[in-house]
Symmetry: C2
């Protein structure tokens, strides 16, 4: 109904499987693109500037931070990585959706700069199983449950800042749910 | 994440194909039920009270209207048809989602009584094609377009009262979109 794309941000704890979901969703869903990150890390052989990354110098990166050009950025070891707002906005204006896959800190930064995005939290299966068990079986008196409940609470309060939560019990189901979220959001009524 | 079901209300102009979509979605999606309507129409042979309809007398129906027991009701020829709020709420509390398929007037009544429902508008294909054409090709100078644009506007302003719009270009695609909306809404973060 509109020619402007939607920004989808997928996040979650490391090891939750968001990388696998991201790759599969990009392969299956039409008209959605990843965003190419900028980095100060040296280009490796076989990598192409503007395809794999935008390779820029540390001083250029610093300037872009000062000019507020990043949706999010982070230091990984001695290198900087970031998502340029101009890149994302350009893709959205050309009518494509964008799917960003970033860590929880990065997602928080993006949410501040582009709150109109659709934020999807990928949750580990153990937590989902725990919640289901608590809901399904009533009170569980074992003391050992408490630690997991605390962890559950911490994650749940994190999930509050997202629009959707997808529990990665089975990879194929999680991929289908993220696909469904993209298809549904494209049908969503926009008030314009 | 919660044991309470979601109310989905699917509506649209008559002839738009919402009946076919409704039947297929109920057949394919697990844990979603239709709601059994109440009616004053006489029971036909083979019909079972409480399975096909709740068959009630005109005076009972009148009492239920006065007691505000209907989510929506309408007269069709000389018979009354209505959706009992108690039926829908009972199904939702038992953990199932409910999919109502009703006309535009009915959907408006439901929206007033259960605004927490998810409202899906099924739009005829011609309108979708028109909108796409207007967006895709720029201004079209033909005067004959105006009537369709007016119709378009009327429908668009209707769609504003819904959460999602599904264009029924191809039945299979429309079914898949409604399925995706249900799956996505089940992943939606609830603020509780």
């Amino acid at each position: 109904m509109t020619s402007k794309g939607i920004l989808f941000v997928m996040s979650g704890a490391s090891g939750v499987g968001k990388g696998s979901i991201h790759r599969e969703v990009l392969a299956r869903v039409p008209d959605i693109k990843l965003s190419i990150s900028a980095t100060t890390r040296p280009r490796r052989s076989g990598e192409v500037d503007g395809r794999d990354y935008f390779f820029i110098s540390p001083s250029e990166f610093e300037t872009k931070i000062k000019n507020n050009e990043f949706l999010e950025y982070a230091q990984v070891y001695s290198n900087m990585y970031g998502t340029l707002k101009s890149e994302v906005v350009h893709t959205l204006h050309s009518g494509y959706d964008v799917l960003l896959e970033i860590d929880i800190q990065g997602a928080r930064q993006v949410r501040e700069k582009m709150p109109q995005g659709v934020f999807i939290f990928i949750q580990p299966p153990s937590l989902g199983a725990l919640v289901e068990r608590i809901h399904g079986r009533g009170l569980d008196s074992q003391q050992s449950i408490q630690d997991r409940l605390d962890a559950c609470h911490a994650e749940m309060s994190m999930a509050r800042y997202y629009d959707y939560v997808v529990i990665n019990d089975r990879l194929e189901d999680a991929i289908k749910k993220v696909e469904a979220i993209i298809i549904a959001e494209r049908c969503r009524v926009k008030y314009y």
